[in-house]
Amino acid sequence: MAKITLDNLAHSYLPNPASEDDFALKELNHDWVDGEAYALLGSSGCGKSTLLNIISGLLHPSQGRILFDGKDVTHAPTAERNIAQVFQFPVVYDTMTVHDNLAFPLRNRGRDETYVAERVQEIARMIGMEDMLHRKARGLGADQKQKISLGRGMVRKDVNALLFDEPLTVIDPHMKWELRTQLKKLHHDFGHTMIYVTHDQTEALTFADKVVVMYDGRVVQIGTPEELFERPEHTFVGYFIGSPGMNVIPAKVDGNRAYIDGTELTLAQGYGPLDGKVEIGVRPEFARLSQTEGLPVRVRRVEDVGRHKIIRAEFFGQDINIIAGEDDRISADMNRVSFDAAHVNVYANDWLVRGAA
């Protein structure tokens, strides 16, 4: 186990990157604390897998360094880094039995057979494949194959880090939940550093201690699920996390007042002069619909999702979402919306601006 440090790291798939746009992964400095479980969250093509492959050594970065416990491994081959990685699509050795598949990484490192047998049994129990150990891996279903891949990733105890690249994509929903729980338990029991790439926010938020949100080759926020929810550092985080995501509304901000289309809204904090594109962000959870209070809004449609209601509405010519309790009555004359002032965030050029009380 090790602390993994990324130092000025960046990567481009082009041989001579000219501008920042050429970089699939933009300059990044970060310490992955030893023993924490991270989720790397972002939409497809945002650089998650690139980052993961650089850490595991499958890809060499165009610039910067990677350090494991302070030791530079930027150009070290994968084998030397002692990393386990599970890929999006199952990789199994078809001609081997399930048992041999699980034993493969241990045998390649010359572990003795009694230890291998013991470890394979343990892992087989964890992934629920004890009764299939002597079957050939060929002909198994995709989710069973992926369980073998996961098992092969977890079979070594002494790895520096465990990396998962969207490993549960091909697994059916019920098994997904179970395997995620197993991974959490594994993390709890052995304290490996884990990095889990996903584009599914539920997966990220339930798995990780810290979620790293990436957008367009850049890490936009690293935080606990709570921090991501309450104070998104970037409008993308607000939009990407939450269901539905944060409402982002163009506004003018002056001191502790915001003006939306000239209509005034009081903020909890005061802000200095702001440049560029200024917006306010409010999560649907912190917006409230009523007859009397707040700014004018026109309700378009109400969706009942079971545990609460989502109100889709028009607000100064823009779509916004409001969440109301399952038992709240929504009536036709409710045409005002108010925001919980403490949870209204201000963004300039998409980045969060912190105000002063």
């Binding site: 492959n53 595991s56 050594g57 499958l58 081959p77 994968t78 084998a79 990393i83 386990a84 990685q85 890929f87 999006q88 699509f89 990789v91 050795y93 078809d94 001609t95 081997m96 493969f104 990484p105 390649n108 490192r109 050939k136 060929r138 891949s149 092969r152 990733g153």
Partner: protein
């Protein structure tokens, strides 16, 4: 579901039946016809029964040719399959050089058989051939028209030159279909180069290799033109392979009956060996090798 019965539908398969009849069934039956009769010309035939088959089976000449044929096929398979795999493994996977290699390797496959024979026949001559002259100058006693060993080496090297590309191209296609993640996972698992080959590349190539082996076996077992052009079956009978012997018998000596019996047995041997080979491979494949 109610099935519609319409016997006129048979007319739809008629074109295929006619085609197959003229291209395969009728010629084959002509051979069968010859194999059970004797003729002295003038289109006069006498019933001979299984006589020709008995004669051929006890004929040492055919057994010797069969032996030489089996040896030839075994040797070229033993060289071409591993060599083809080796070449495929070392070809550039993409980019300009990959296409370049593919084109260069396809070239021998595009040359007509008798031209290949002529090329090697000249190439190996001690007086004017580059290969023969060079070997002779190096003090190596090489003369494929007189020395049995030299004749065999020449036709084997020629066949390897002509056909290894086919194996390499098929193996390369098999290799290209392996997703990157397999190699990455192998790196993570610290698999050695040999294990990557044994557990990833070879299993993924098995399907195309089976086709390659079958094709090469059948083709080499029926080979005629190239060795005929180079050695004419000599020195002596040293390189008289089955089909060369067959043609000598049928057209040289005009022994139509024995030649017909011979070709039928020849056909059955190829069918039998291919079938055994295929069955064994498929069973191995099922067991996961």
């Amino acid at each position: 579901m109610e099935k519609t019965v319409n016997q006129k539908a048979w007319f739809l398969v008629l074109p295929v039946l006619i085609l197959v009849a003229f291209s395969a069934v009728i010629p084959l039956m002509t051979v069968v016809n010859y194999s059970v009769q004797d003729t002295f010309g003038n289109n006069q035939f006498f019933w001979a029964g299984l006589e020709w088959f008995e004669e051929m089976l006890s004929d040492e000449r055919m057994w010797n040719a069969l032996q030489r044929q089996l040896m030839f096929s075994a040797i070229i398979l033993a060289i071409e399959i591993p060599l083809g795999i080796y070449v495929a493994l070392h070809m550039p996977k993409s980019g300009f050089w990959s296409s370049f290699c593919l084109v260069v390797m396809s070239l021998p496959l595009l040359i007509p058989w008798n031209v290949v024979g002529t090329i090697w026949q000249i190439f190996g001559r001690v007086d004017i051939g580059l290969l023969g002259y060079t070997l002779d100058a190096l003090g190596i006693d090489y003369n494929y028209t007189q020395d049995v060993f030299a004749a065999w080496v020449t036709i084997i090297v020629m066949d390897v030159w002509h056909w290894t590309s086919l194996v390499a191209l098929l193996a390369f296609a098999g290799l290209k279909s392996i997703p990157d993640a397999y190699y990455q996972a192998a790196k993570i698992d610290q698999a050695s180069r040999w294990k990557v080959f044994r557990f990833i590349e070879l299993p993924k190539m098995m399907g195309v290799l089976m086709i390659a082996i079958l094709l090469r076996f059948m083709d080499s077992f029926m080979i005629y033109t190239e060795p005929f052009v180079v050695t004419g079956g000599g020195p002596g009978n040293a390189t008289t392979l089955l089909s060369i012997d067959l043609v000598k018998m049928a057209l040289g000596q005009f022994d139509l009956g024995p030649a017909a019996a011979f070709s039928l047995m020849y056909f059955l041997v190829i069918l039998l060996i291919s079938w055994v080979f295929y069955t064994v491979m498929v069973n191995l494949d099922k067991k996961g090798m």
